[in-house]
Subunit: 200 residues, 2 copies
Amino acid sequence: MPDGRGRPPRYSRDELLEKVVTVFNERGYEATSMEDLARATGLNKSSFYHHFNGKEELLGLGVGRALDALAAVLAEPAACSGPPARRLEHVVRRTAEVLVAELPFVTLLLRVRGNTEVEREALGRRRDLDARVADMVRAAADAGDIRPDIDPRLATRLLFGMVNSITEWYRPDLRPTAGPAVVDAVVTLAMHGLSTRSAQ
Amino acid sequence: MPDGRGRPPRYSRDELLEKVVTVFNERGYEATSMEDLARATGLNKSSFYHHFNGKEELLGLGVGRALDALAAVLAEPAACSGPPARRLEHVVRRTAEVLVAELPFVTLLLRVRGNTEVEREALGRRRDLDARVADMVRAAADAGDIRPDIDPRLATRLLFGMVNSITEWYRPDLRPTAGPAVVDAVVTLAMHGLSTRSAQ
DNA sequence: TATTCCACCAAACGTTCGTTTAGTTCTCGG
DNA sequence: CCGAGAACTAAACGAACGTTTGGTGGAATA
């Protein structure tokens, strides 16, 4: 409980984390030194240890925020009831929206490789989310709403491969209003493909 | 010109490079130490300096092999002539095949961030390839063969976001014969989408 | 067999890393 | 205005990094 005494901080914990995660994404987590973080925030590199326990905690908080946002999508009512195809389309759209809204955090999450315990735990949580989506795709295939000629697990991976690729190229600072167009394009391409010819 | 004299090498340069690139992909390039490479190959870490000039050259050779393979696809006759939509479908299929065939090298390429000159040059070569594919998508849109309601550049990014996602999850050691099925699924999903309903 | 050349290695080098220690500066409650 | 407490910093720490040095051992040539 902060009682107001002491020097006021220049940045809140959340502001610091956002800047830190941005640098992690520019340079890569391993290639980012505490010096780099200090330069980006204007703080001394040792000052981080008053706000966070170390570099790995910064990573854990960053990927945790992404995982929380993605898990929240699967908990939404429209993702839990209704025809499987509708639920799936909702999850695709909302996941794309979360990627756009929480871009740096999800970008960090998608690059985790599993070198440390923090990273392996993040990969585990991500696998759980992926499995729940794969079940949704399977249900939609069983209901005949999506093409039966592609293995549901394979379809899930390609589908979310496309969705997740948003983090590879979408830069909101270059086209700040492009977010909704990106989300619409993802949903359209995922469901109907590129071709103007009819399906099959 | 090797004249056969001296102790024969345990591994060829190409064999070494393949093992090295695999470790780079498991741990991430920055997180991989020369000790890690030594352990994976059975060589002493200083022995690498008789085959390569250093860690960064290993990276450059790895991503170079991926870029050469991808550039070769765009130079194939079927990618250079015929209706734009046919050329595009050919490039999608062949790119997916190259990803499967040269998986570790393309995986390494797709994770490059641009921290060094070697990495920035690789990013530049990759941008050139992407631009040529984007021109192909634009031509197919102008010809009316693919849906006109999505910006060609955006469509290119999402399309190859899906294709490139193969490197994120395809593991040939787990399902050695799954390659062709993956390629077919990519082409089908890219062109026609998931839905069994007709387009639009 | 003597020579040559290549593959390989042990040890050490200078540098940079994440982190710790021991403080200083600033703000506010009393 | 005093003292508590929080934000912040300079300097230094041991460890790990990529690389260099100086050399050993073994196979082919002559």
